[in-house]
Symmetry: C2
Subunit: 298 residues, 2 copies
């Protein structure tokens, strides 16, 4: 039976959605508005790419998906907090995200800031408490908390966002600068999604290195394709087309041209798939995800 | 030789300051402006009450202070992030903090938000990496990460800040509402400072319970004294007097009167000290800190 990537993604997405819904269930202790604001953004949809990558990487080394889920969901909560804060008036000042009004447009700026702060904080607590409850070892939990904090912190995702703000509207930005910005802003969290799932599955350091390289290549291919879709896309992105250019964001296709960008994305996809050579058939989903990310049209 | 609390506090503060300075040293990898903004607020001073409480609680059960320090500094970093975000224009819109311009007034709003996010994220990563390096067990580190996230998250400090924003300017706020807001907004992090230090020292659950009650009583006494100083204080607070009233903040002395508030603060101090009865002379610093917090005049 042929592997159907769209089917795989939608099955895993449903599992992740169900977990996130349960994790953010109303315990009716939090102030209603704060929890509502957190739920609004987390449950607004999204592809769940990061948690699915964590699950697929776990699968590649035989992890129990139940044990991977807390890390997968923690990473998605951290990703969501970053979107809420990036959309704020003092940052990108976005009105729409995933086809619906951004968090601060619905709940106001102060609640949006607090909802982001809370998702980031709760993600670490949940990862530890739920990980231990499901039998992940304390050693692996410590490794993952440390990796995620590094990837999300002042030398990872937040550094990427700071660079993005600094480059926006700047003339003469170079391709290496854009690449470094992407590697930090999106790449670091995509890599830690993959390595976290693998660590929970007991991967050795050689496997972790290969999977990290897989994630770096697939993550950049994903970002380049995203930028191309912003120019060529058929709507359906939940945001307007041509956003990047209007805002003075330097992009891959803007600097290298669309054809060259497509060529680089294909090459990165091939590289990502090549990193999986030493793995057995259980890495099939990771392989298909890389091919999908480098060639998707929505 | 008599125990000199002012001397104790200043010696410990210097140790904490030195650690924070080293932890936030310029590795010249972070974007200069982001790191500068983080350093500005963390190194702007402050009493370092939370890290000192962690050290003193560790002392009470014989902890190695070197092992307590990462948790102590992580809590101070999280405290600092909360001050940066609380001061933002959409929150309390403060111009001064600890006698100097607030972070967003110096670095702009987007950098202030990112500096807060980065301090929160880096705190968790540093706590784990540095804790392990200094020989704290992975089990204790997991307990502390979980406790701190719970105390700082959507059911702790952030819930307290959300309640504070909701109560500000509201008429007919009751004393129990103000007390609950304080318990969440400041109390939870003060409690986790004490329990983290104690856990690292190997305290048993009975000792943790007693120390948590100590922290709850001493923390509220501290907050009430703070509110009284806002009315009666002699300047030197690093902010203007009468701030709370001008902003429509309900306070303990505002609702219960100054004399009754002083009486309650004394009673809480007695209660805090009483919780230390089963501990030996090594709890002397905790005892003196409680007495100091309940009666300080600056």
């Amino acid at each position: 039976m042929a592997f159907d990537i769209e089917d795989y993604l939608s099955v895993k997405k449903a599992l992740v959605d169900r977990e996130l819904e349960a994790l953010l269930a109303d315990g009716s202790k939090s102030p209603a508005r704060l929890l509502e604001s957190m739920r609004y953004s987390v449950l607004a949809g999204g592809k769940r790419l990061r948690p699915i990558l964590a699950l697929a990487a776990g699968e590649a080394v035989g992890a129990d998906p139940e044990k991977v889920m807390p890390a997968a969901c923690a990473i998605e909560m951290i990703h969501t907090y970053s979107l809420i804060h990036d959309d704020l008036p003092s940052m990108d000042d976005d009105a729409l995200r995933r086809g619906v009004p951004t968090n601060h447009r619905v709940f106001g700026e102060s609640t949006a800031i607090l909802a982001g702060d809370a998702l980031l904080t709760d993600a670490f607590g949940m990862l530890v408490a739920e990980g231990i409850r499901r039998g992940v070892s304390e050693r692996v939990i410590c490794e993952i908390v440390s990796d995620i904090a590094e990837s999300a912190g002042s030398r990872g995702m937040i550094e990427g966002q700071a660079i993005d703000l600094a480059l926006t509207g700047t003339k003469g930005v170079t391709l290496p600068e854009v690449e470094r910005m992407h590697a930090l802003k999106t790449g670091a969290m995509i890599r830690v999604s993959v390595t976290s799932g693998a660590r929970i599955g007991g991967a050795d350091e050689y496997q972790i290195q290969k999977l990290a390289s897989y994630a770096d290549a697939a993550g950049l291919a994903f970002q380049i394709t995203d930028d191309i879709l912003d120019i060529e896309g058929e709507g359906n992105l939940g945001k307007e087309r041509g956003n990047d250019e209007r805002r003075g964001k330097s992009t891959y296709p803007g600097l290298a041209g669309i054809d060259e960008s497509k060529r680089i994305a294909s090459e990165l996809t091939r590289k990502a798939v090549g990193m999986l050579e030493g793995f057995d058939h259980r890495a099939g989903a990771l392989r298909q995800i890389a091919l999908y990310l480098g060639s998707r049209n929505h």
